[in-house]
Amino acid sequence: MIEIKNLCKSYGKLKVLQDVSVKFERGMVVSVIGPNGSGKTTMSKCILGMALPDSGDILLNGKSVLKQHDYRSQIGYMPQIGRYPENMKIRQVISMMKDIRKEVKQLDEELVGLYGLEQMYDKRMGTLSGGTKQKVSAALAFMFNPGILILDEPTAGLDPISAEILKSKILKEKKKGKLILITSHIMSEIEEVADEVMCLVDGNLKFFESISAIKEHANEERLSKAIAKIMNEED
């Protein structure tokens, strides 16, 4: 569904992504892991066209997404730190997004309900806590029924109950055969929702394997240990 070919991206002298090539298929839940600053967010931003690659290509269903914009109707994005116009109320943000995505008839407002956002509709975005902003981001990412979800550290900053709600939502969407990319540092969470793990280190693709293959490969029961083992082996 998404194919990344020889993607390179640098910010000034800093090479953030170096020749990354990978292929994601429909129905996959891929967890993107890697140390801080290894290019996880940059990769998501390149897929979304927010950061423009230096070289390489990104194909969605066989078509290049570079310099395009319509393809983003198939993607729901939840940023790591949601930034919203401070003087807008939650209600206004949500209704504005609906207005911009008028063509989507079937809205999925499950998370709006589960997170009780309606009760906070008249709060301004600037006054919200980080966690509440995350909830708004999550609700918006799922709202337009996209075929692809890109969630950048979705549960960081959420309280355990809200994180649980989000995880069960992710599993529900997975059953519908969507492609879901999650960047995360929490191994237990990855084990719960993901099937595949993609590991980036210093902008290079370290490995991209299914969780069971990783465990087998490292001969470990727990994913966190298995990954630590693989990382140490290759050093």
């Binding site: 910010y11 931003k45 979304l48 066209g49 927010m50 950061a51 423009l52 914009h69 319509d70 393809y71 983003r72 109707s73 993607i75 994005y77 940023p79 930034r83 919203y84 116009p85 401070e86 003087n87 807008m88 943000v93 504005m96 997004m97 207005d99 911009i100 995505r101 008028k102």
Partner: protein
């Protein structure tokens, strides 16, 4: 694109700065018309104030608005919306709301105190200058991500066009006063949108008769229909050049 313009306009109206700008213009225009008995003279004073204030307000407001809208633009960029459309919608919404404030603020008093061709030119020039300086403001804003720097660049642009440029022109005219400079000074006027606007309005006032040979040359250049058309054409170039440059930079930017 219409939807985005609509939402940007909501945002601008919420801040009430544009409303304050309208009221300021109204007070200014009514004040000047009441101070002077002769509407032509008050129009001249109004021209001078307008050519100083309109560029300043336009460039400062547009720059701060652009930086304050960063989150909004970021939000839209993850949606199936063209970046260029986001940028142009921002531009049109800011330029149109400031122009509307100007046309109401200056237009209403002018209508009450005697509208003539010169007053119409004053209105048109003000709108043109607003569009030019909003475009320059957007150029200053896309060059740097730092808000303070962006506003600094914007203010420098204003100081240059409103104050320093005239000084340079006078210096050149004085220094080369032995030479025929009419053609050169025409070119120098075209290089500053504020001067261009001033000349267009002045030559449609009676005062141009006092400006001697150079005035006569200007009159033959700017006073005629084609002259006015050329001036507004140059003003349009002054809008398009910064606007298209900044649009190009913006569409290649990493967010």
């Amino acid at each position: 694109m219409k939807t985005i313009i609509k939402h940007v306009l909501y945002d601008i109206l919420r801040s009430r700065i544009v409303l304050a700008y309208t009221v300021f213009m109204l007070v200014l225009a009514f004040g000047l018309f009441n101070l002077e008995g002769d509407p032509a003279k008050s129009l001249l004073s109004l021209l001078n104030v307008v050519l100083l204030v309109v560029p300043l307000i336009s460039i400062v407001f547009a720059t701060t608005h652009f930086y304050n809208s960063y989150e909004f633009m970021e939000l839209l960029m993850a949606q199936p919306v063209n970046r260029k459309k986001i940028f142009l919608s921002e531009y049109l919404a800011v330029a149109l709301s400031l122009s509307a404030a100007y046309v109401v603020g200056i237009g209403v008093p002018v209508l009450l105190y005697g509208a003539n061709a010169t007053a119409l030119f004053l209105l048109a020039v003000g709108v043109g200058i607003t569009f030019v300086f909003v475009a320059l403001a957007f150029l200053a804003s896309v060059v740097t991500r730092d808000k303070a720097k962006g506003i600094g660049v914007a203010l420098l642009l204003w100081v240059y066009f409103a104050l320093i440029y005239d000084g340079i022109v006078i210096f050149i005219l004085y220094f080369f006063s032995e030479y025929p400079l009419e053609k050169a000074s025409l070119a120098m006027i075209a290089l500053n949108p504020i001067d261009l606007g001033r000349i267009v309005v002045m030559l449609n006032l009676d005062v141009s008769a006092l400006m001697g040979y150079t005035g006569a040359l200007y009159k033959s250049m700017f006073g005629s229909g084609t002259g006015v058309a050329i001036s507004f054409g140059i003003l349009l170039l002054w809008v398009l050049f910064p606007l298209l440059t900044s649009k190009r930079i913006f569409s290649k930017k990493d967010i």
